[in-house]
């Protein structure tokens, strides 16, 4: 085996993720097992009425997969952008004592840009859900 204890004890080698892989295996096993179990355990008396989608008891109309409000896409897009900006803060946060005031001012500029974009989208009404 190549898993020496020194490696396993360290927190910054690929091997420190090994237990996570183990846990993933366990979780997948659990989920799959349960899914199979419920599949075989439950009764199966399917009728076509039972298999149509629920629409509060009225006839089903059309397909559910229609274009939805653009707001949701907008939220997704904004999330992608801002999340990446947030991710940028993390390395800074970890090292920020070392970077001192200089780093702080630099980050302040970054926050400024972040806020500029933020204020812009708010003013632009990208986050208005009332209408």
């Amino acid at each position: 085996m190549f898993l020496s204890s020194a490696l396993l004890a360290a927190t910054n080698t690929p091997f420190s993720y090994f237990p996570i892989v183990l846990q993933l295996g366990a979780a997948v096993g659990f989920v799959a097992l349960t899914m199979l179990a419920t599949h075989f355990l439950g009764p199966k008396r399917k009728t076509s009425d039972k298999l149509i989608n629920f629409e509060s008891g009225i006839e089903q109309k059309g397909n559910a997969r229609q274009p939805v409000a653009i707001k949701y896409f907008l939220t997704a897009i904004l999330f992608v952008l801002f999340d990446v900006e947030v991710i940028f803060f993390y390395p800074y946060a970890v090292n920020f004592r070392g970077l001192g005031w200089e780093g702080f001012w630099a980050m302040l500029m970054f926050v400024g840009a972040f806020l500029a974009g933020f204020i812009y989208i708010i003013r632009k009404g990208a986050l208005k859900w009332e209408d």
Partner: protein
């Protein structure tokens, strides 16, 4: 660098201006003012460099500003100024977000400023992306027009694809050399690792994509044709010139000389020849002037590639002049096109009788594109060809270029023939006096540069 900061901040400010100012006319004036500020800021840089007789580096050697950089920036900003003055009013016909359009263009300008001064591959990547991403948006800004949507999507997919290739090139070069810094790449001196070689090739391809050189040009006509015309004018001129400078900077500084040059020079020569031939021949068959101009922009790219192949002072002068001449002329031609209702050649029939000034302006611009003497385009072509002849070993390419220049006369003159020699009643928007004045100034600039290219070159 001043101009870089100035354009970037102006772009941000413009976004906010759009929130508070509803009068589109004043947004335009604001943009023009911001551009002037950037221009002046750039002049300070020029003055600084001339005074100290040397360039400078900034941001931890991320960018290097030289005289060429700043003069080129001046050309870019100047062309944009002309573009705003000529076509700035057309923005509001595309959609309601006028301020955003201006802001996006300012970001593109900031990208170009980076592209002219990068000295690190990271900045190259950023510059190219900052130039490209706003263009995807501008291409699709006519939201309800399917063609515009399509142009945008196509541009986006192709653009991001080429970005991927560019990045792979960068990372392979990094793998081979251990640095992103152009001057520390040292590829010329080092033994060539296969990583580096593949990297350079990938970068050639990616950059060819960006400047729409054949055979990576196929997206160009569709994108240029589909985009709102007023933005096509911008992407086909200023942005393209910016891309070229990045291309040239990259290959002249990083990959020049040593054992590596022959590896990519042949590839580039073939690309150049293909670009010239395909661009010109296909342009001949176009029925729409807008599409013809798109193909012609490919053809012109072929000429600009000459500057890339020949590393000498003349090539620098050539690309500078070419960028100015080509941008001015194309911007002028597009501004006339914008007044037209029908973009086909037949749509121009009889324009000379109805709007003699428009026809005259268009003619001079087309002359310049075709490289007829006494217009700026002539000396532009002259300089790049002379650079190639001086470099030597590329005479076959020069001959191809000459033949292609002759072919180009055919399709450019088709417009002139339609305007002057054919009868018709074209549908054309009545140009305002301000526009007419500006067109005359543009034409005057084209001719002035055609007679005294020195006005521009003396700065180098």
């Amino acid at each position: 660098m001043n101009a870089l900061l100035s354009t970037a901040i102006s772009g941000l400010v413009l976004m906010f201006v759009g929130l508070f100012v509803k009068n589109r006319q004043s947004i335009k004036y604001f943009a023009i003012a911001a551009l002037l500020v950037a221009f002046v800021a750039n002049l300070f840089d020029v003055a600084w460099i001339i005074h100290h007789k040397q360039g400078y580096t900034a941001y931890e050697h991320m960018i290097t500003v030289s005289l060429f950089t700043t003069v080129f920036n001046a050309v870019i900003l100047g062309s944009t100024l002309v573009y705003y003055l000529l076509s700035g009013s057309e923005f509001e016909k595309v959609g309601e977000n006028v301020a955003e359009y201006f802001a996006l263009q300012f970001f593109i300008l900031a990208g170009i400023m980076l592209a002219t001064s990068f000295s690190n591959l990271l900045i190259l990547f950023l510059a190219i992306e900052i130039m490209s991403i706003p263009q995807y948006i501008l291409a699709g800004s006519d939201k309800h027009n399917l063609k515009s949507n399509e142009a945008s999507l196509k541009y986006f997919l192709m653009g991001s694809f080429s970005t991927g290739i560019l990045l792979m090139g960068i990372v392979l070069i990094y793998g081979g050399s251990g640095s992103f810094d152009l001057e520390h790449l040292g590829i010329g001196a080092m033994a060539l690792s296969p990583l580096t070689l593949v990297g350079i090739l990938l970068m050639v391809f990616a950059m060819s994509f960006k400047v729409s050189a054949a055979p990576f040009h196929f997206w160009t006509p569709d994108v240029y044709d589909g985009s709102p015309t007023v933005f096509t004018a911008f992407m086909a001129t200023v942005v393209k010139a910016g891309g070229f400078v990045a291309f040239i900077r990259l290959f002249q500084i990083a990959f020049k000389g040593g054992i590596v040059s022959p590896q990519w020079e042949l590839v580039l020569e073939v690309i150049t020849a293909a670009t010239l031939i395909i661009g010109n021949i296909t342009a001949v068959y176009q029925q729409s002037v807008k599409r013809m101009l798109s193909y012609s922009s490919i053809a012109q790219a072929g000429f600009m590639l000459f500057a890339l192949l020949s590393f000498n002072m003349r090539a620098e002068q050539g690309i500078l002049l070419y960028a100015a001449a080509y941008s001015l002329a194309t911007i002028g031609a597009f501004s006339v096109l914008l007044k037209m209702n029908d973009y086909t050649f037949d749509g121009f029939n009889g324009l000379a009788r109805k709007e003699p000034l428009l026809a005259f302006g268009m003619t001079i611009c087309l002359f310049s594109l075709a490289g007829i003497p006494l217009t700026a385009g002539f000396f532009a072509k002259y300089f790049v060809l002379a650079a190639a002849v001086q470099q030597g070993g590329m005479l076959w390419l020069v001959i191809i270029a000459i033949v292609c220049a002759a072919i180009s006369v055919y399709y450019y003159f088709k417009v002139i023939i339609a305007m002057y020699f054919k009868a018709g009643d074209p549908e054309v928007a009545t140009p305002s006096n301000a526009y007419k004045t500006m067109l005359v100034i543009t034409v005057a600039l084209v001719i002035l540069l055609g007679i005294f290219p020195n006005l521009l070159l003396k700065w180098l």
